[in-house]
């Protein structure tokens, strides 16, 4: 049995008096595809943001590939990590955002090549070659010279996926990547993610409200409520035979709102 690639150990996240994550522990195995579902405010997006080091944690520990994410050993003690350590750890992780967060002043190709050139010292020609492969994979090779403002939402999100992949992370975080899209554009993004799941052995964590997609995509589904994992299991179990009442209620509401399961 291999080691978990992510180990979250009893983390607490507070915003002032509000506790968003309350003593959460979980493990993710290498190559696993995980779907995090639950009502808004349940803490699922916060977990992705914490893994991407966009937030800090109030208590607890996180290990990525056996290495502490937020702490470093100093004279035998674990102390909060400095920027240099975070910089090193971030190499393992990539993230795709709900609102794409493309760089509006750079063309599609430059959006994808910028980080590999700056952070890995990749030569421009190499970075461009790799970027074109990735853009081809997401079906946007012909848009390489377009500016983000000229693209549809679905196209923007596919560029954002290519941009994150350009750094070859071992772990990819997808934060509600289709929530900001018009309904008819959702499928083109999901198709790219299906392809990615089939063709790579990347570990993927997905926060989503697309229950049908979570069902097909994930190896394991975690249902969150109020900062805790209420229930977890194979998609079949969670979606067809949820045990917990809160899971049942949530899924009923989602179905009533017109989402396919």
């Amino acid at each position: 049995m291999s080691q978990p690639i992510i180990r979250i150990d009893n983390i607490v996240k507070r915003y002032g008096p509000l506790t968003v994550l309350d003593g959460l522990s979980m493990e993710v195995m290498p190559g696993e595809k995980l779907a995090l579902i639950g009502p808004s405010g349940s803490g699922k997006t916060t977990i992705l943001r914490i893994l991407m080091t966009l937030e800090t944690i109030s208590e607890g520990f996180i290990q990525v590939e056996g290495e502490e994410l937020y702490h470093v050993k100093k004279a035998g003690n674990l102390v909060p990590a400095d920027e240099r350590h975070l910089h090193k750890m971030r190499e393992k992780i990539g993230m795709v955002f709900q609102h794409f967060n493309l760089f509006p002043h750079k063309c599609v190709l430059d959006n994808v090549t910028l980080a590999p050139m700056l952070t890995k010292g990749m030569a421009r020609a190499d970075a461009q070659k790799r970027a074109m492969e990735l853009l081809d994979m997401v079906g946007l090779a012909d848009k390489a010279k377009s500016m983000p403002a000229q693209l549809s939402g679905g196209q923007k999100q596919r560029v954002a996926i290519a941009r994150a992949l350009a750094l070859s992370p071992k772990i990819m975080l997808f934060d509600e990547v289709t929530s900001a899209l018009d309904p008819e554009l959702v499928e083109e993004v999901l198709n790219v993610m299906r392809k990615l799941a089939a063709e790579t052995d990347m570990t993927m964590l997905l926060v989503t409200h697309e229950m049908g997609f979570a069902h097909d995509f994930a190896d394991r589904v975690l249902f969150f409520d109020r900062g805790k994992i209420v229930e977890e299991g194979k998609p079949e179990e969670i979606f067809r035979h949820p045990k917990q009442e809160r899971t049942q209620t949530f899924l009923r509401k989602i179905i009533a709102a017109g989402h396919r399961v």
Binding site: M52, F100, N101, L118, M147, A149
Partner: protein, 219 residues
């Protein structure tokens, strides 16, 4: 009948001094505006405190007093400046303090989402600022920078107080010598307006240049 050509020449000599002051003062103002504006956003408390002190001090005291200090008081500290140097220094530092707040505001206006994308792509703070934040913040700064440059141009007239023969000073000289008020003052009115107009045009051109591709919605 007065021979105006010589007097107009005098005013044009003054105009050249005004142009020099404006250009050099603006250059200094831009440099300190970025230094202090970014300094106020620094992670380091000492840098923030230094930048804030500079900004508040130079916005909170009069340009006249600053000019007198640069020209009359600094020599006591062993630093003797020519009138032009003192003028550039006072104008640049004064307008730079206002510019610093413009830089800070524009940088802060670039949203959290862009910063988070930079973190997710593992850029360093410096790389994020240099490649992502500043290029987007610059178009936001330019209209106010244009205002500041015009303010600086008009502020140059104070240097006549430290014996620098700028355009306004020369107009006073011509008025005293010819007894004509209308012609010298009408001339400098037009010249100031023409210079301000040039600044406006220049800034508009720059704005178009730096915001190329940024038209339409923000991503």
């Amino acid at each position: 009948m007065i021979d105006w050509s010589g007097y107009i020449g005098l005013i044009l000599q003054g105009a050249w001094v005004t142009v020099q002051l404006t250009l050099m003062g603006s250059a200094l103002a831009v440099v300190v505006a970025f230094a202090a504006g970014l300094g106020r956003l620094s992670r380091f408390m000492a840098v923030r405190a230094l930048a804030t002190t500079y900004i508040e001090f130079f916005r909170g005291t009069s340009i006249f007093v600053q000019l007198f200090w640069a020209y009359f008081v600094l020599p006591f500290a062993g630093i003797t400046l020519t009138p032009l140097q003192a003028g550039v220094l006072a104008l640049g530092l004064n307008v730079g303090a206002y510019g610093a707040e413009v830089v800070r505001g524009a940088v802060k206006a670039i949203g959290r989402e862009q910063r988070e994308a930079c973190i997710a792509l593992n850029l360093t703070r410096f790389q994020a600022m240099r490649h992502i934040i500043l290029p987007q913040a610059l178009p936001l700064m330019l209209p106010t920078f244009g205002n500041n440059a015009i303010e600086l141009l008009k502020g140059t007239a104070v240097v006549s107080l430290i014996s620098l023969t700028d355009m306004t000073f020369q107009a006073q000289v011509v008025r005293a010598q010819t007894g004509s008020t209308l012609i010298p003052f009408a001339t400098i009115l037009l010249l100031y307006f023409a210079m301000a107009w040039l600044i406006s045009m220049g800034m508009r051109w720059l704005e178009r240049r730096v915001s190329r591709g940024l038209d339409g919605v923000r991503v």
